[in-house]
């Protein structure tokens, strides 16, 4: 599992799941496990992270759009803490190569 060491995550950039990406999923009640056939790496995602990645799988978007769509799912406003958590998770996706800047 990779950690983001690059703190300069660009919040305005549009990210997407690469068209060449091919994820294989497995997992049990407590977690989603994904094998990324391009990197050969295996990652574990909780339901929160899984939902975020699914939003990127739907199409490319920047952070604002992501926040907006997430708010629709939870039917409420995101607080600052959750927003930070989303940014951390997305920046983690980028470091793992699950998503890439457009």
């Amino acid at each position: 599992m990779e950690n983001s060491k690059d703190t300069s995550f660009d919040q305005t950039a549009v990210f997407r799941v690469p068209s060449t990406a091919d994820f294989i999923w497995s997992g049990w009640d407590d977690a989603n496990i994904v094998y990324d056939t391009r990197s050969g790496h295996t990652q574990v995602l909780n339901d929160f992270a899984r939902e975020l990645l699914a939003l990127y799988e739907d199409g490319p978007k920047n952070l604002n759009v992501l926040f907006h769509e997430f708010e629709k799912i939870i039917e409420g406003k995101l607080d600052e803490q959750t927003k930070t958590q989303i940014i951390d998770t997305v920046s983690g996706f980028d470091a793992m190569g699950l998503i890439e800047p457009l």
């Binding site: 294989i24 497995s26 049990w28 407590d30 977690a31 496990i33 094998y35 056939t37 295996t42 574990v44």
Partner: protein, 325 residues
Amino acid sequence: MAAQSIFHDPENLISLNDQALDNRLAGEGAQLEIGPFTVNISLKFKNIREEFIKIYGDYPYYDAPVIRDNYIKIFGRNFFRTYIRPQAFVDVGMNDEFIPLPARMGMVSLEMGLNWQVASACKQYLMFHAGVVAKDGVGLIMPAASGSGKSTLAAGLSYRGWQLHSDEFGLLDLETEELVPYPRAVSLKNQSIPVMKDWVAAEHDNYLDYFTEEYEGTPKGTICYMRPPAASIEKMHVRTRPNVVILPIFDPTSKPQIRPITKTMAFFRTVMSSANYGDIGSDAFRAISNLIYNSAVCEIIYPSLEEAVKLVEKFVSENTEPRDV
């Protein structure tokens, strides 16, 4: 579930008496079959041959030449290094240079050479650094780090009615998803040596015949090798589907207990124990997912081998259906 290895050729297999085996080892080499692998072994030191025969004397050997997975040759570089201050060089044909050990540690060189070959070259089977045993259709994997006592536990179970697949190289066939036995000599370290000697002595009067000498001062402390039980050697081509994963933790101060773990935890511990998961890639991911999906999983904490065997048997009997084999 008894799949035969596809290249296993019973017609060409023989047993060799000690003298005949010694001659082959000293000459062109003896073609030893262990589970799915055949290795040509030549040993240029008499003391190493003696120890080897004690452990591997009852294994099957190919008579006529066969295509072999590996070869290993242990030799002295010259007269001085063979007879006066003997030093065992190891050639495994893989561009790797081993640090030569004193010839008195002969079996250590051999077993390390075999380990290295399997660990670095085997990608056709998914490999777990784990103790693996089977009984009555139950395939049990015990992934663990060195020092958890998995070797001792696998060996202990094998002398209480279980079939020893391996004390540290579990193999899984990626197509059939069966465990493939690879019953090499069991490698015992330090405190586990007297434990296993007592354990085998309880069943066999001639228990000392099952052990090599104790090699002191190796890079891993004192090492002793033990022969797997005859039944495990006979069944080296009998495969079993895995259906139990137990993570063993040895703690001499604890009371014996079985602790539940999540399947996700079992999945990652099994992945982490695999030396070639990364190379095999998506096939390995699918195989381990299926394996964990089909397995009962837990962690056991045990203060002694006796208690560990009880915990394993208890967990297995409560979580698997008895099967005819």
